[in-house]
Symmetry: C2
């Protein structure tokens, strides 16, 4: 038995598992590790800027012959310059997020690029569908990092989105295991996108302390900070409380950059996991080990296949 | 094709769909409607007290020959008196919640009763398992009404619980459709428990205005109020804001009874849905109609079976 959705054929990948374009984390190394493992890696262009992204794409061209995606933050003024890079490196898949999908979708599609857009509600899903995107990534409030102010968990978001749009839907937020993958496919998704699980991969550039925090995390280790201004899911620790105390309506992400920088700089010396800025989704409670990204991909598939056998026994 | 889990055989029900014991809502009418529809109804004893529960059990004995469950709030001093009622009415299934499962599980089992216990974390699931319960209801923070302070959404809670306990697990929180049911089974559950969906059933005693609020609710209509004292998920409206403004660490559920009473009393005249206390889970965004509970059960099964056919096409 092997599980393969139509999206796998379309993207040219073996398994319906996608790496999220994590700010500061999803570089060429991790992207190629996931793609070479049979999933779809995603390069975070926002992490590297235009010149840095060119370097990363060059690296990627050396590291893999498999498909990968490039994440474009739509609100960012550098997007037009990033668009110029795509044909140069033969990029065929793009993940757009953080902005209006109507802005670049037509241009990307005219370049022959497959466009996946990240949404967090039915409303934004319908907007993306109307903008003509090829696939929709429905990301629940269970996910790590920035989440939408209107928190919609994936358990209710996914069935609502898959019912209303006529393009493949990828589920994101809280997934880390094969049971979750099969659950997402059962609810109508054609794949899952995971950030936090791959953050704890061998090839991830995240500090070992961050990875260890994820391995040690229980099911209720994360929460959403900055609810009134810039909602962000991360590990609950002393840093969380310090940053959250600064939360004020009217503030934006930029207002927390200095405290976040402090939290990031604390990580290398943070032996007890109390002072670091550890972005993480609710799926961190499901992470029990650090291993190669390719092994993560294959083990999730195997577990999903075992779960499928169990599910079929209910018929 | 028909979907049937081992739990269905154990409980003697046709479909793996359980009515949650909702305070103020889950009476004999709704319980028997769900049980007669092939699911498992659950009577909320906390709503009725000892004498009222006796009346409801009498009604139930007239309304259905099918199995149903009785919800016992373990912390409540009336539990010993409720226990006396169970053999009198031949109750075979009990759902325990809101307290230590070690307290009554042995006694209930010695009475030949099947004990299901509601948990909200891996820790409490393991505690219930150790106490010897027959099944565990894993309820995510997506659910309506009281939720645990440590919010764990069902997408991450369910795979963690099903992996760690060796008894049937029922998933609760955010479910309202057949896709959700299949998703839960795919993640290792043997059934789902739903409150909000049945709150909008014809047989529910909830006011028509409340049901209409659920039908009109979008995916981001609910949020958790009273996060610092008595976390409760309900519809975001003017009442939500008024109650939430009273949130203070150190307060308990009793401190909000008068404001909640006001919210409940506003419902009959609340034509625009702004002033009522509308308890609801995130699944309310998936509710599009009010219909008989039996139809809800059967339609969810049909939809799950269609989703299963789609899932099997991925093999």
């Amino acid at each position: 038995m092997t599980i393969k959705t139509p999206l796998c054929e379309t993207l040219g990948i073996e398994y319906p598992i996608i790496l999220g374009g994590m700010m500061g984390i999803s570089d060429a190394n991790l992207t190629s590790a996931v793609s070479n493992g049979g999933g779809l890696g995603t390069l975070s262009s926002a992490t590297f800027g235009v010149d840095g992204t060119r370097e990363q794409l060059q690296l990627l061209s050396e590291q893999t012959n498999r498909p990968y995606s490039v994440n474009l933050p739509l609100f960012h003024p550098m997007v037009p310059n990033l668009l110029d890079l795509l044909p140069e490196f033969g990029v065929r898949i793009v993940t757009t997020s953080a902005g209006n999908p109507a802005k670049y979708t037509e241009q990307l599609k005219s370049m022959g690029i497959y466009v996946m857009h990240v949404v967090s509600s039915v409303k934004t899903a319908l907007k993306a569908f109307d903008a003509g995107v090829d696939a929709i990534i429905a990301e629940g409030s269970d996910s790590g990092g920035k989440v939408a102010k209107d928190e919609v968990p994936i358990i209710s978001l996914l069935p609502a989105v898959t019912e209303r749009v006529d393009v493949p839907v990828i589920a994101a937020g809280g997934f880390a295991t094969g049971r979750g993958l099969l659950g997402a496919l059962a609810m109508g998704a054609q794949g899952i996108q995971m950030g936090t699980r791959f953050l704890a991969a061998d090839e991830s550039r995240a500090h070992e302390n961050w990875k260890q925090v994820l391995v040690n995390a229980g099911d209720s280790a994360t929460a959403i900070a900055l609810k009134n201004s810039s909602p962000t899911r991360l590990i609950k620790n002393q840093f969380f409380a310090e940053m959250d105390a600064l939360d004020e309506p009217g503030k934006g992400p930029m207002d927390y950059m200095s405290v976040q920088k402090k939290g990031n700089e604390s990580i290398p010396d943070d032996v007890d996991g109390s002072r670091g800025n550890y972005i993480a989704g609710t799926g961190s409670g499901l992470i029990t080990n650090i291993k190669p990204a390719g092994d993560i991909v294959r083990e999730i598939l195997q577990e999903a296949e075992q779960s499928m056998a169990q599910l079929q026994s209910y018929l």
